[in-house]
Amino acid sequence: MQNIWRTLNVLFRGRRQYHELDEEMRLHLELRARKLAASGMTEEESRYAARKRFGSINRLQEDCRAEWHLRFLDELRQDFTYAVRTLRRDWLFSLTTVLTLTLGIAANASIFAFIDALVLRPLSAPDPNRLVQLSAHDFSDGTNIPAFCFPVFEGLTQRAKSFQGLFTWHGTTLSLGQGVDAETIPAGVASGDAFRTLGIRPQTGRLFGPSDDTSTADAVAVVSEGFWSRRYGRSYSLIGRRILLDRHPFTVVGVLPASFQGMSTATPVDIVIPFHADAVLHPQWDMLHTTRIWWIGIFGRLRGGVSQAQATAEVRTLSHAVLENIDVHGVNGSPFSEARFTLTSAAQGSREAIQRYDKPLYVLICVAFSVLLIGCLNIANLLLARGVKRERDLSVRLTLGASRLRIVRHLVMESLLLSGIGTILGAALAIAVSRASAHFIAAVEIKPDLRLVGFVGGIAAIVSVLFGLLPAIRSTRVKANGTLKLARIGRSFERVFLGKTLVCVQVAISLTLVAAAFLFVKSFATLTSQAIGIDRKNLAFIGLDSERSGMKAPDLANFYEELLAGVRALPYVQSASLIAVAPLSGGFEWHDLTPKAYPNLTREQRQLYIHHVAPQYFRTVGVSLLEGRDFDTHDSTSKEKIGILSQAAAKLYFPGQSAVGQVLRDEDSTNVRIVGVVRDAKYQSMRDPAPQTMYVPAIEAGELPGNAFMSGSVWNLAIRASAPAATVASAVRAMIRKTNKDVYMNGQITLDQSIDNALAIDRLMAILASSFAMVGCVLRR
């Protein structure tokens, strides 16, 4: 230890060492000169002679210093070549160790890459730690809701003083282009102050500001750098060009820097438009004034000198004033005026990604770490076994006069070499795995950066200390003359005990891993294969949006009826119908039944899920009719409101009697006569049981009724066909093109794909957990 300390001391205290050498040599010169003077020289002569004899002081100093450096480096090189030699001699051991480490490190690094990309990496805006996101703590159910309506944003902007700037952000999709060939792109909607507050500079052109975000301003948009290259080949002529977004003309004014892809790492955007422009695209929602729909995120940058705690205190006191003037019912219908604002850090962007992925990812990190642990234990065990042979080697070296430190150094060099190779291979494997599996989790860009390398290097360093230094110190604890004792140590109680403990711990961890993997796989298998009430084979949904077509009620109804007739006439189509919200697509719609009529039901029970469907829907999706009748074309002209209940709803609202012929009263006190009961089917979630559902005719009183979200313009064709979904979709596309109507086709999705999407995280967990468990078992051998 002293040796290294001395050397390091010299290496790091270079300047001081120079001074010391300098002083020492000056004294020498002076004494020499004095001696020469004593022998009869003049003072000047003697000084000159001494100087001449001494030569260059600087050169001498360099020579002196070299003694330290060369020795250190020389020994390092010796250790290195010796380590290479011993590892090559023991190539089977080396190979096993390197492979073990490679797998363990790759597992950890890829998980870290996922977590980093989704959760850890800060927004690339200057000083991201000053960015905060607003959420509302709802005391009635204890949840933190990070979504608001625009009036809340306005109320807060007028009052809050803690912020340099505040802005809204929400994700959406926009259709780019015209007609049935338009494409859907992920988009962000930001209020005018967003880019100024974030401190983001354009890659080219300009980013929009507050003056672009008004009801009268020309509609502008900025595109992401990725979209600019992908779609427009980085052409500068895009700036100033008009493009059609949701059939509205927008002028592209600039390109975002490559590092900014939106506020949520989980959902990168291609294009960003101002809030007021988005409001114009959806006049039916009245986005600027509505307090019914809560969906926008509110972000801000703290004013200089204001701490997050101070700002939180301010928004908390402002909660009442802001929410008071807003006729608010929370997302789940509860009065929201009691809610209090709070702030969370937005340094990593919106909390959305974190909330969506953090738990599964942290579970996976534990799994990955267990794999590494198993690997390390395995290596420790190998080292222990190898130790018998090695200890004799080492004791010979000790006897021959090698210092203990030197031997430990050599052993650590061996470990560093192994872990170094393991790290490099592991990092390479991790990058390959991340690239290959990125699409499993989200469209996020996973790039190996310095921190990732640091993380992997850190693991490797810990590993080398764990499995290199400790056995090394153990091995050298024997005295040089203890050669004879060594044979005994090889079989000593300590070694046997240690070896057995290692094996036990390994088995325990492996079993845990396998059990966890089994649970993940089992739960995924159960979820994905459960009966959902719908016959999922050959069933596809094609999304259509007629908002820009200008068609009004009767025309629209005719359009869809003709389209349906055309689709049903296709030879490979068995059956086709319409539904507003495709099952398991993530969307949902509900009505509340009036508590007056159903006093015994809880609020959740009065929540009736709604499906707007055309005739033949049940036949198409394979939901069997238990009682009563299906809708028919006469229902679309009848003035009476009718509905078909799911089994669950019929049991809930009309227990012990037939629901057919009964009347259901909903919140706006309209009466719905029940004409049929169908079997239960999953609605939005694969996890929850099928909810109480009411099906109502898509076309009522000659109109497509729609609702607050749909405004009757968004519909899904439900088609059961023996041909692939893409074939059906292109046939539908051709039919729409022939009608010459500006109807936008939102793409096709099979029910199986919807289920896959709904269970994406479960599937990811199952795949990763089982592959890690497999790696763990392989490592344990």
């Binding site: 040599m25 004294l27 002196c64 210093r65």
Partner: protein
């Protein structure tokens, strides 16, 4: 002035250690002077090799150095051997004797041959 000889390569460190043995700690100039004196003024120690040699000994932990004061109250670095230094000195002396004995043997052989001829 008598003719000076250079110190044979590889022996300076041994000589320094020997000089430092059984004495008070010495500083660089004193070491150089003592080597010259004890060699009957045959050797003259060059500063260009003495100081690197001292640093080498320090780096290997064969000597340790402390700052002290000369009689004239000047700061100077004083050297003395460590335990490892004494061990090394013993080994070096042994080695030197072996080598010089070997050289002597060879030289004697030469003398005999010359005589025979």
């Amino acid at each position: 002035m008598c003719a000076h000889e250079a110190i044979p390569p590889g022996t300076l460190e041994m000589l320094v250690l020997q000089i430092l043995r059984n004495t008070r700690p010495l500083h660089g100039f004193e070491i150089a002077e003592l080597i010259a004196e004890r060699s009957g003024e045959v050797f003259e120690v060059e500063e260009g090799s003495l100081y690197p040699a001292l640093q080498r000994l320090l780096a290997q932990g064969l000597v340790r150095a402390e700052w002290g004061r000369t009689e004239e109250n000047r700061r100077a670095r004083y050297y003395q051997p460590t335990e490892a230094g004494y061990n090394r000195l013993r080994a070096e002396i042994e080695r030197y004797h072996r080598i010089s004995a070997a050289i002597n043997l060879i030289l004697k052989g030469e003398v005999l041959k010359t005589a025979e001829a």
